[in-house]
Symmetry: D3
Amino acid sequence: MIFVTRKAHFNAAHRLHNPKKSEEWNRETFGKCNYPNWHGHNYVIEVTVAGEADPDTGFVIDLGKLKGIIREKITEPCDHRNLNLDVPFMEGIMPTTENLAKAFYKELKEEVEAIAYDDSVLYSVKVFETERNIAEYCPYRMKE
Amino acid sequence: MIFVTRKAHFNAAHRLHNPKKSEEWNRETFGKCNYPNWHGHNYVIEVTVAGEADPDTGFVIDLGKLKGIIREKITEPCDHRNLNLDVPFMEGIMPTTENLAKAFYKELKEEVEAIAYDDSVLYSVKVFETERNIAEYCPYRMKE
Amino acid sequence: MIFVTRKAHFNAAHRLHNPKKSEEWNRETFGKCNYPNWHGHNYVIEVTVAGEADPDTGFVIDLGKLKGIIREKITEPCDHRNLNLDVPFMEGIMPTTENLAKAFYKELKEEVEAIAYDDSVLYSVKVFETERNIAEYCPYRMKE
Amino acid sequence: MIFVTRKAHFNAAHRLHNPKKSEEWNRETFGKCNYPNWHGHNYVIEVTVAGEADPDTGFVIDLGKLKGIIREKITEPCDHRNLNLDVPFMEGIMPTTENLAKAFYKELKEEVEAIAYDDSVLYSVKVFETERNIAEYCPYRMKE
Amino acid sequence: MIFVTRKAHFNAAHRLHNPKKSEEWNRETFGKCNYPNWHGHNYVIEVTVAGEADPDTGFVIDLGKLKGIIREKITEPCDHRNLNLDVPFMEGIMPTTENLAKAFYKELKEEVEAIAYDDSVLYSVKVFETERNIAEYCPYRMKE
Amino acid sequence: MIFVTRKAHFNAAHRLHNPKKSEEWNRETFGKCNYPNWHGHNYVIEVTVAGEADPDTGFVIDLGKLKGIIREKITEPCDHRNLNLDVPFMEGIMPTTENLAKAFYKELKEEVEAIAYDDSVLYSVKVFETERNIAEYCPYRMKE
């Protein structure tokens, strides 16, 4: 099994706020991340595809095409945008790093698997909010 | 001459918009950086002090104290904030990387030089908006 | 399944020496790492928690609280310390990167899982002795 | 289970070209990577061994010896070389990142497992062609 | 004085060989860098412009436009190319890191200064052949 | 003027303690850095040589030879050592980052300039104690 990873990045604003909860609950739960006037990050994402290499090309997936899909589905809609207000596929979802990883995975899965070799799968999406805060969504790695 | 540097970081939202100019001028000049709902960055800053080392301590400046000044003057007011709306010393200044470097330098100069050894000076402040976009304010390095 | 990772770091001295073995065996086995007057590293650690995200907060675990637990259990006892002499939970354990990863995992497990959402688990602890030498303790990833 | 990783690097030239296919197919499939006069990369590799730590040494594997095997089997034959023309174990194999990871794994497996503790295994080999393009060969991590 | 830096990167093959000298001299002088079948690098470059910020834009130079000039003048001609054979402005020049930095500076100077604010200058070009081998061409920083 | 830089690294233990001062002064001045049982760092150093490139080789200095000098004069005596106890050229000097940069410069100057082209000079030595704490000794860059 070969795991191929492509890195990308974008810059966006966001804020953590659960509109179903009180202001006080939000302040206590999210602290600085709840500040009203937004803050932002240089997000880095790693998209990993797992499968075998096509004997003709030596590729599990053409990384140039994968780069194009990531740009169209993730980078273009998110870059220099507000993740709470501007990104259609994040509507109604709080933009925590966890939720971003899961939402990006869903956005990418179909198109990525359509161009990957044979029965390769979109294995995981990892999102770095900062160098220190990271979330990875991976439906194939079990905890037990 | 010894140059001592301390690195710090904060996450903030901003937007480039010159209120004295038309919407059209702003869109054309700033492109994606002018999007109305803000975007943001993981800012990294490098503060450099130049001087000789105190023979008793071997320090040009106590980096623990320098860290404290950077936190109080820069990180606390900027972290998880909106650089256009929330930071008193940026009022009326467009938050380009250039202007941030210059404003941070002014904020830090007096307190930093007060605790640095002998006649050491605050030599420069460097701001990384991203890994690829960087501005440094340095009144001591001339272009000719 | 979502994997959330928090990075931390500390600086410490250590030395590899097995007191049950001869001086000669130690010199031959550990080479430079056996030098008598200690050496040291900027250790980086990555703590990963696996589980689902709490629908109210969007968090598998509150990274601010995780940061606090890592500081209390690992960074405070280890930072600027001698891993052979000063750290209670390393008593009688040779401070190889492997043993540090395992010991840190044990120190963190209970408190981390107590604050993580639902039945999330402490998935792994990764220790970077240098950028080139790395050990990860993970009881959930099997080799077969 | 403990996973121990050693990082190494080398600089090499390569070109993607499948001699069984037409010039046109190659240009279309590989784009810039098919340019006739070669291009090159600073390759970084991560070699991971999985097992338990030897109670006498605290090591899953002696990283100094692992470094030596990586140098002898991978770095020496590949460094400052042309991966299409100069490397015996790559003969007849297109030097994509995927194929390099798999070939390096095969080159290393026997010697690495011979010196690792007990029944530890060579778990994976990860190759970074650039910071953004990465392939990992791992026969132990399944996709389902 | 403000120093604004933009980072870029490209991948290329090269070889150090002085055709005016004997094979033996070349082998002895350049060692592995003289191997006949080329090797290559992930080159990183940093382009620095020095000047004052335009009060209307807060920019010393529009980094989007600088990025475009670097792409047109440096990245496009060099990326996935052979620096000895394919790059017009390197004809007759040995592609050491030193010579690349100087040649890139000359290629960029006129166009960069034409779009920078007021009398800003192209201050320096820094080329990273690897993370460990770096050359910077800077006509404004004197050694004495 | 071209500035050529070579990076190197070593791991060492140290402690900040001025034997001419009281225990109390030392504890107050150096805090955690004064802990009695040592701590340590992964030191990174950058050695920069300034001059013109030799027209025959395209080198300001042969980086392979510079690497050898750095190893002989700095890395060999310091790696896996205690900077307070084991390094002859640090005898009687407190191992702050500032003092290390200055001492390394003195150790390297003569041998480096002997092999650099023409009248090139050892321009600076930069020492990273951590990624965040950095000191550079440079006798050629003035503060005014």
